[in-house]
Symmetry: D3
Subunit: 118 residues, 6 copies
């Protein structure tokens, strides 16, 4: 049975392929930029993933949070570091971030569960 992480990734990949199969160059280039912006530069990749996470959290975009949680997890971010990042998001962005924090925590548990069974 696919867990939350696999479902999220399957839908995301299917729709991204459709979007990139259109003739729209602006969309294609924004997708490319997204890959480049989070690569190692003056700042390490792990820090950049946390920057992407906190930005997604204060803008309250669940799918963006899920995406950056997964890449952060793969970059070795610990649960405590993730929670510290999300606590800054909740302070700066306000208590309206809390529902997204609940779902983020649930997604993080799915990432841990997926990893322990693979």
């Amino acid at each position: 049975m696919p867990n939350k992480v696999e479902e999220f990734n399957a839908y995301r990949q299917k729709m991204n392929e459709k979007l990139l199969s259109t003739d729209n160059k602006v969309i294609k280039r924004i997708f490319n930029l997204d890959t480049n912006a989070f690569s190692q530069g003056h700042l390490p990749e792990k820090t950049k993933e946390l920057l992407g996470l906190v930005a997604s959290a204060v803008l309250r975009c669940d799918d963006c949070i899920a995406y950056h949680l997964e890449t952060a997890y793969k970059n070795g971010v610990s649960k405590e570091e993730m929670m510290e990042t999300m606590s800054i998001a909740t302070l700066v962005g306000g208590t309206i971030v809390i529902p997204h924090l609940r779902r983020a925590y649930e997604f993080w548990e799915a990432l841990e569960a997926q990893n322990s069974t693979n």
Copy 2:
């Protein structure tokens, strides 16, 4: 089996009727204004629907996007014009718009499917 478009419209219509059955005049007048603002004026209706679509997209309101996708579709907006409008939304509003773009594309496909089978 109802598709996404029919489900969306059924819920929307049912709840709008309930809202308009209350004694709240401000809500009633905002609903009326909504109809007037998107009617032909100095700008044609099709342009206004694209304005409604891009505003809904940068404000990341899935139901508002779905509503304007349907009215845009009925006004003869092509898939390429819809994608161009959404690409401006994604550039101006940032990559946090992308999850809404994925759902918008899926809804557009449902509009096309509904139309081809009717």
Copy 3:
């Protein structure tokens, strides 16, 4: 069969317990502040719940709206007062608030249904 209100509260409580079981003190203190800020002060509790509701509505946070609808309901807010509060949110925050108004009205009906059967 659990209704919308019970489902919402069950998930909310389960995840809040998990969040508060971590070592993150900032999150714990924000949760405490949330309780204090809505207690009787210079303004009565009922007015504060309406302030929380309108803030949640213009920021378009469905879970926050649901939470404040329930506490407002328990504080004796009438349907007409709730609608008047939501109409100010819709005017100030724009028609993008309308989808949240539809869901708020549905949640209010669930609160009324739960109350009449208990």
Copy 4:
């Protein structure tokens, strides 16, 4: 010498007159709605002004905050009630509301100064 309150009101009135002198009926009707929505209804005018204030604060609109501070002041809202309303805005909307809170406090002082010298 005009104080902050007089400057704000003079600019606001001058531009509103220009906006209402155009042929745009949607704008005219939104301006009318704004007057109606904050009039006494199921909720008293004072409560409605606090609702307008908290909505303006979490949406971080300085001019909207100034407008509702002035009407709240005229409706007998005390400094403590204003601060309690703004503290809910800061908790729900996050620390990004604080710069607006600083300017709101300064505008409130200008309202008090204007009143004591008139």
Copy 5:
């Protein structure tokens, strides 16, 4: 004496040059994308400028509004079309857009004044 339009353009150009003189490729490419996205495509340039204007208005970005007002003006958009676009922004984005509408109208007058004296 430089008017509002010239002041805005001078500051904007000076700072853009500084930003583009750094080694940051993501910023450079976003600036390039901005030029491309608003060029003639499936939709005419004039329509795209109105899309940029309404997106800027609902997101309440004064500088973005000023920029798109100027390019819209140069593309032959009439005052009535501008006002119709801004009225959709005010309805969709709410009365918090009104302060930006006042400043937009003032900037439009500066564009007209600049044009009549050049």
Copy 6:
């Protein structure tokens, strides 16, 4: 002659003192939390300042950006790291972040100028 940095800090300090002299405990506690959240924890202080900066930038709060630019500068963040952080903000938050990026760059130059003359 005071530069931008000194003016910003003087106003900020003066108004914060006024806010903290009221009897509002929620505001006082949010100010305290703000200090704690950005202290060294599982993540180093420098990383937390960048998290605060990117959150402030995507939420488009100029004063919050200025505050985090100054603390980032004091924590040894380089211009390149600041720009990389701001470029992620501009990609995630969209081109509406650009006017804030221009003002951020100007404030950073003021920080450098202040430092070289002290």
